[in-house]
């Protein structure tokens, strides 16, 4: 008989025992180890994903901050540039104003200098003219300047034309006060009497006269009565001389003004 039923039973029992033993010592531990490893791998992958997401988030945050910083920097730079340009403009305006003020000051000073110079020239010319005229008259005609001036004034009186003479005659005759004779210098008595005689002859009347010294007449004689005036003086000639001097000075001032340096505009 090939089948031994005791052996069959024993082998069945042996198989069941072996199945239990292997389940206890082989399958369960091995499957547990595999599951645990898979769980760990899954956890590590999850951690890695979380870290990756975190890194991505931090990268985004960093990028965002970086962009914000760039924007802020650009804004600050732009603001600083604008402020610097505004300050530059302000400083340039100030410098321009200062240069203008200085130029105006220089112009004023030049005008003052010109005026002073004109005054000085005028005075000096006056003196020189008198001195030259006096000397020339004295040397050539053996007479003094005052005498010549009185003579000149007398000739003018005599040469007065009709209407002017009438007006002056009326004024002299109707004047409540004596007619005033102003001269740049003190007239000697002979000249005064010569002048009085000429007046009496010219206007055919005995006119009372009052003499007065006025240096601003500049070597001249002026007769005034009741608002009418007759005068001769070197001032007329001096005025033309003054015009000539003015033109000369203007001609000098223009090149100086053109030669003035322009204010620097470099920033």
């Amino acid at each position: 008989m090939l089948i031994d039923w005791f052996t069959v039973g024993a082998q069945t029992l042996n198989f069941l025992v072996l199945a239990w033993l292997l389940k206890r010592f082989l399958y369960q531990p091995i499957l547990l180890a595999i599951d645990e490893r898979e769980r760990r791998i899954a956890t590590e992958l999850g951690d890695a994903d979380a870290k990756k997401a975190e890194a991505q988030q931090e990268r985004d945050e960093f990028q965002r901050k970086n962009e914000a910083f760039d924007r802020q920097r650009a804004a600050l730079l732009s603001k600083a540039t604008n402020e610097a340009q505004a300050e530059r403009g302000r400083l340039l305006d100030e410098a321009r104003q200062a240069a203008d003020a200085l130029s105006a000051q220089r112009q004023d000073a030049l005008v003052n200098d010109t005026d002073d110079l004109k005054l000085a020239i005028r005075g000096r010319t006056q003196q020189e003219v008198f001195a030259i005229a006096r000397k020339a008259l004295k040397d050539l005609a053996a007479t003094d300047l005052e005498g010549q001036m009185v003579g000149m004034f007398a000739r003018r009186l005599r040469e007065l034309d009709g209407q002017a003479k009438e007006c002056l005659t009326d004024a002299l005759k109707t004047a409540p006060e004596p007619a005033l004779v102003r001269s740049a210098f003190e007239l000697p008595d002979e000249h005064r009497s010569a002048l009085r005689r000429t007046l009496n002859e010219t206007f055919s009347a005995d006119l009372p006269l009052r003499f007065e010294v006025a240096p601003d007449l500049i070597s001249g004689i002026e007769l005034s009565a009741n608002g009418q005036k007759l005068a001769w003086s070197i001032a007329d000639y001096l005025v033309s001389l003054e015009k000539g001097v003015d033109e000369l000075l203007k001609g000098r001032a223009k090149p100086e003004a053109q030669a003035e340096p322009k204010p620097a505009t470099k920033g």
Binding site: L2, W5, Q11, T12, F15, L22, I30, A33, R37
Partner: protein, 228 residues
Amino acid sequence: MHLSPDEIIFWQFGVIKLNATIVYTWGIMLVLALGSKLITRKLSMDMKRSRWQNLLEIVVTAIEKQIEEVGLGEPRKYLGFLGTLFLFVATANLGTVLPGYEPPTGSLSTTVALALCVLVAVPLFGILEQGIGGYLKTYVEPTVIMLPFNIISEVSRTLALAVRLFGNMMSGVMIIGILLTITPFIFPIVMTVLGLLTGMVQAYIFSILAAVYIAAATCTPKPEPTNS
């Protein structure tokens, strides 16, 4: 010359006897259980692990995958039974390379015992999965007429399991024994190598067939398409 290791009796007391089948089975049990215990004593949960642990993991996951491929949805539920079947038969067959070893699977008593275990396990798993009514219903499908044929099929395939394994292993051992007497040098070695292959194939066939029977018993039949 003997056909079965059952005939080698070391000790006997009445019907109780200690023959080579039982003794070698204990040896295999000891090797498997002790080896598993020793290797799984300090298992590594990390990526770095020992070679023996790797080997066991490969074996276990391969068996699990094979069970799943047969069609059993939850392989771990059947791993204890089917995995033990394969490992026991494979170890018993691979032992033939050892001189003086008699494979327990060369005993019809052992193969009958294993086939009986399959015979019991199939309805057990079927009832656990589908309930007793659902399982018994499979015997009368597609019609009640099929009931005796289904029962005969159940018994005959159990017998076929037992006899197939026994016949293959017994014949292998017998051929090697006969060849040893005729041509003592080359052919027995070749036949031993062939026997190893045959042993592994038989272990695979035995466990796969058991898995297929269980799968057939546990799988709920698909609803038939209705004619509209």
